[in-house]
């Protein structure tokens, strides 16, 4: 306990004497974390999206114009049934669609209540017997006068998955690079305080201090920088993402047919990731910065 207190006191003193560089490291790590946060937000939301629409995976959804009457809809259904590769055709009213959407969104479902009038169209769901026929079904359906639009999730999911895979690989490479940069920045910052205290370190070594004892305050200094960065970036992400969800969330939700991940939940996870990353970067940076001073 006395050791913990000693290390914390020393670390705060060191940061206090070296404000400029400490702030620069916090800035660099925060920037890195924000980029990570962005990737994280994108991939979490994409995952939720693919999960939600998976149930409609092999279904071509045909949205009808508001002006299309039920009789016209019945006619369209009959026409569709004739197409090769169609195994089943069902009608879904806008009210049913809203109910289903509310159910799928689960906890976020209440958000839909604020929509007022139901913006969802009536639709016809076409189960296709095999994927290759989906394309021709899709084409045939959209030609119809009463049809506003069609979606076919298989295609979307494939595309999205491909894109997110690419993004994730790219993100991983950029992240690795940024983590290395952060470690270097932290280690340079701490090198300054190590240098300022080199006489003390030298004396400590003569008196028989273990390397871990000597490292203690510097390790804590690095970890404090990491923790501070994690808190700053979590805060920024919370505010910015919260704003996005509040402003554009609903629009995107109805557009994509899937809810954005709630701010609290997302940031709760992100803060844990940021803290782990920040502490790791801080600790690595300080150990690296001391290597030269401690061998021998």
């Amino acid at each position: 306990m006395r050791r913990v207190f000693y290390n914390l006191k020393q670390a705060f003193q060191q940061i206090g004497r070296n404000k400029g560089m400490s702030a620069a490291s916090v800035f660099a790590i925060t920037a890195m974390m924000l980029i990570l946060g962005l990737f994280f937000i994108i991939s979490v939301n994409v995952n939720v999206f693919t999960e939600v629409v998976k149930s409609d995976y092999d279904t071509v959804e045909v949205y009808l114009k508001d002006s299309t009457t039920e009789a016209q809809a019945a006619q369209i259904m009959n026409d569709l049934k004739e197409i090769k590769g169609v195994s089943k055709v069902t009608y879904r009213t806008k009210d049913q669609a809203m109910k289903i959407m509310k159910k799928r969104w689960g906890d976020s479902g209440y958000l839909l209540n604020s929509l007022g009038t139901n913006p969802l169209p009536n639709s016809i769901l076409i189960k296709v017997s095999n994927l290759s026929s989906a394309n021709s079904v899709n084409k045939a359906a959209i030609k119809n006068k009463g049809v506003e639009n069609t979606t076919y999730y298989k295609e979307t999911i494939d595309k999205v998955t491909k894109i997110t895979n690419t993004i994730q690989i790219g993100a991983l490479i950029i992240m690795l690079f940024l983590v290395v940069v952060s470690v270097v920045v932290v280690s340079n910052t701490i090198k300054l305080t190590v240098f300022a205290r080199r006489r003390e370190i030298e004396i400590m070594k003569y008196v028989g201090a273990t390397n871990w004892f000597i490292r203690g305050p510097f390790l804590v200094e690095g970890m404090l920088i990491g923790i501070l960065s994690a808190l700053v970036s979590s805060g920024i992400t919370y505010v910015v993402y919260g704003k996005i969800v509040a402003k554009a969330g609903l629009k995107m939700m109805t557009m994509l047919g899937s809810p954005l991940v709630p701010t609290g939940y997302l940031c709760g996870n992100l803060v844990v990731i940021f803290l782990a990353l920040g502490i790791g970067i801080g600790a690595c940076g300080s150990i690296i910065s001391m290597r030269r001073f401690l061998d021998a």
Partner: protein, 239 residues
């Protein structure tokens, strides 16, 4: 206490020590003398394992220094008190804190520190300066603080690298009295020095090194002129 067996240390090309064999017993007081570049600091650095020997065995107390792993070095150094020519005190710490520092490093309790530090400061004769900062003290007083720090953890041996090098003769003599008292209390003392007058006056064991080799190991006077030439009326040779 300290044993060197055929120890050799070369710095890429330069000779540090060459096949040195030497034994210093528990409780001895040894002057280590020799011209500049002779290898005295090399000898001390080898004891502390600041550098590694190329060949030979080094024993310090219970430790086989040449076989010590990096993790065991601190344990070994805790049995050695170091005193330097330039005192090496921390300017931002008081006299008390400078000495307490050596105990904190060994995780001693605040209670033990509060009891032991004044005791040691009294021993070296500066108990009244405990709240002062090093730069407010005379050179002799600063060296006393350094000695207090060296002995506060009861080391078995004190190694002093030219402890009187920055002091006037009178103060140097006071410091010698102190080191002698520490030695009388049972602690082995190894002192590197260039001060012929001190060596001649104190009549202790003198180990003379030149160009990396022990050229003389005897009791009594310095035995060498400042320029390194043998002194005709040098000490009794017991090698």
């Amino acid at each position: 206490m300290i044993t060197f067996k055929h120890v050799t240390k070369a710095y890429d090309g330069n000779i540090g020590l060459k096949d040195v064999t030497l034994s210093i017993d528990d409780g001895e007081f040894v002057f280590l003398v020799g011209p500049s570049g002779a290898g005295k600091s090399t000898f001390i650095k080898l004891i502390l394992k600041e550098i590694d020997a190329d060949e030979g065995e080094i024993q310090v107390g219970d430790f086989r220094v040449d076989q010590l792993s990096n993790r065991e070095i601190p344990q070994m150094r805790r049995k050695i008190g170091m005193v330097f020519q330039d005192f090496r005190l921390l300017p931002k710490k008081t006299v008390f804190e400078n000495v307490a520092f050596a105990m904190e490093i060994l995780h001693k309790s605040p209670k033990a520190i509060k009891r032991r530090v004044p005791e040691v400061l009294k021993l070296v004769g500066i108990e009244d300066k405990s709240k002062r900062y090093p730069q407010e003290l005379s050179a002799g007083e600063q060296q006393r603080v350094a000695i207090a720090r060296a002995i506060v953890n009861n080391p078995r041996v004190v190694i002093a690298d030219e402890p009187t090098g920055n002091l006037d003769p009178k103060t140097a003599d006071d410091i010698m009295q102190l080191l002698d008292a520490i030695n009388m209390a049972g602690t082995t003392v190894v002192m590197v020095t260039h001060a012929k007058d001190i060596v001649d006056k104190w009549n202790k064991r003198v180990v003379a090194i030149n160009e990396g080799s022990i050229v003389r190991d005897s009791f009594g006077s310095y035995g060498y002129h400042e320029n390194g030439r043998p002194d005709k009326k040098g000490g009794r040779d017991n090698a």
